[in-house]
Amino acid sequence: MSDPAWIHASLTTARPQAVAALLRYFRDLDRAEEAFQEACLRALKSWPEKGPPRDTVAWLIFVGRNFGVDQVRRTAKQTELPDEDKLSDLDDREADMVERLDNSHYRDDVLRLLFICCHPDLPATQQIPLALRIVSGLSVKEIARAFLVSEAAMEQRITRAKRAVAQAGREFETPNAVDRAERLGIVAAMVYLVFNEGYSATGGEVHVRAPLCVEAIRLARLLLRLFPAEPEIMGLLALMLLQHARASARLDKTGNIVLLDDQDRTLWDRRAIDEGLVLVDKALRHRRPGQYQMQAAIAAVHARSTSPDETNWAEIDRLYQILERVQPSPIVTLNRAVAVAKVAGPDAALQLVEPLASPLSGYFHFHGLRGGLLMQLGRDEEAREAFNQAIGLAHTPAEAAHIRLQLDKLGQGKPALDKSQKRA
């Protein structure tokens, strides 16, 4: 590792906790960020000579807070005096502080910082950049690249988001147990959104968006460090690790997405899978099933199978039934139908799928699966119709190619399709 690399790694790691604590002192995102920046600059000057302090996070908070207080005092001469309440804990001595800064103290701070980014007025397109900027410390340029927009546009989006959250104040009260659980759920959903922004990227974008997956996994690790006994947080981290473990098998040489069944499983990241599997087992011991745990458990069944044929579909069916209970949704039922088809045959699966026609009429996978089931049942004409609908809704070349393959199996469907494709 080159010399400043370890300092940068330390600063990146310390960032969420340090900025969160500084935000508690100053109750102002910009001031907290500025104070942290200044502390980082001083760290870059002082650490190479003196070595890192024993507690890097406490050092950064202490230095940042002193800088911030100076700034407040300086501007106070020009503007009105700050409210003393807003500068709480000013008299703490450093030793005091280091002692107090154990996990439980960081916990509400970090949760608050993440929670602020999930402000209900903010659409996901603003929540995610705000979290990446403030919590993860990615540069506006990096975030803009991941979202495929210009730096100026992203800067504007983040500024707007900051302005919206600045007007909220209620987050600063210490949450009770119920609030805390609710916040944790909302924050977990936001972290999963960050992951999906990266994961659901189509072929050509995957490369630039992968950092979002890595960042989401880091945030989940942070949450789990703060809430080590929360099965849903274990599930969330496990789910992302197990999905991300397939990253290098998900793209072919031309950059197209490779479907799960067709992936070269030797390319899966065993290290990430091992960690994910352990976390799934740990979570399920709590017997408090939740959506992330169940999705992770399903991903774990795939991760344990060395080939698609070995997949334990009965187990997947069972897990989807639990997921249907904790998070009923037509998409969950549709996914369960895939398992049912393998276990009980196409007829049983089709019975599960048909009632989903109205909520999922615009969903690629609905028509794709339905077509496949109809084909297995020998109802070719209906199958062709379903496949044609699916192709019109395909998002990636891989999805479309997969359906075309099915149509080929049906025989005469192909020429008609080629004509319709030329139009597109």
Binding site: M1, A9, T13, P52, N103, L222, E275, R285
Partner: protein
């Protein structure tokens, strides 16, 4: 004398390394291990998954199972080497070589009292 060299570091930093950074440190470790192995002085080496994968079982008549590592510490046990050394000094020399491969964390050098690589079943 056999020694355990226990590697402690802040796992959130180590987990945050890029693959290239991780590979670079491990490659240097491997070189030291290779030299030890050539002399027949290297025992098992292992690297642990992060502490959030850990569970703790508290002793007692009805052992209690808890999530997480035994102790909440700023630096966590990440892995260990078992080596053979003629003296404390020699064990420390090996630890110093390993410690020079990164800037954070620490290595604890601890003599072994008992070691069985694999139990023979009679």
């Amino acid at each position: 004398m056999q020694y355990a060299i226990l590697c402690y570091d802040r796992e959130e930093i180590v987990e945050g390394w890029t693959q290239a950074e991780d590979d670079a440190v491990i490659a240097k470790h491997r070189a030291v291990e290779h030299d030890l192995a050539k002399k027949g002085r290297l025992g098992p080496t292992l690297r642990l998954l992060p502490t959030h994968a850990a569970m703790t079982v508290r002793s007692g008549d009805q052992p209690l199972v808890l999530d997480g590592p035994f102790a909440e510490t700023k630096e966590q046990l990440l892995g260990l080497w078992i080596i053979d050394a003629d003296s404390h000094e020699e064990a420390l020399e090996t630890a110093k070589k390993l410690a020079s491969h990164k800037k954070t964390g620490a290595l604890e050098v601890r003599p072994l009292r008992y070691f069985a690589a694999q139990k023979q079943v009679a």
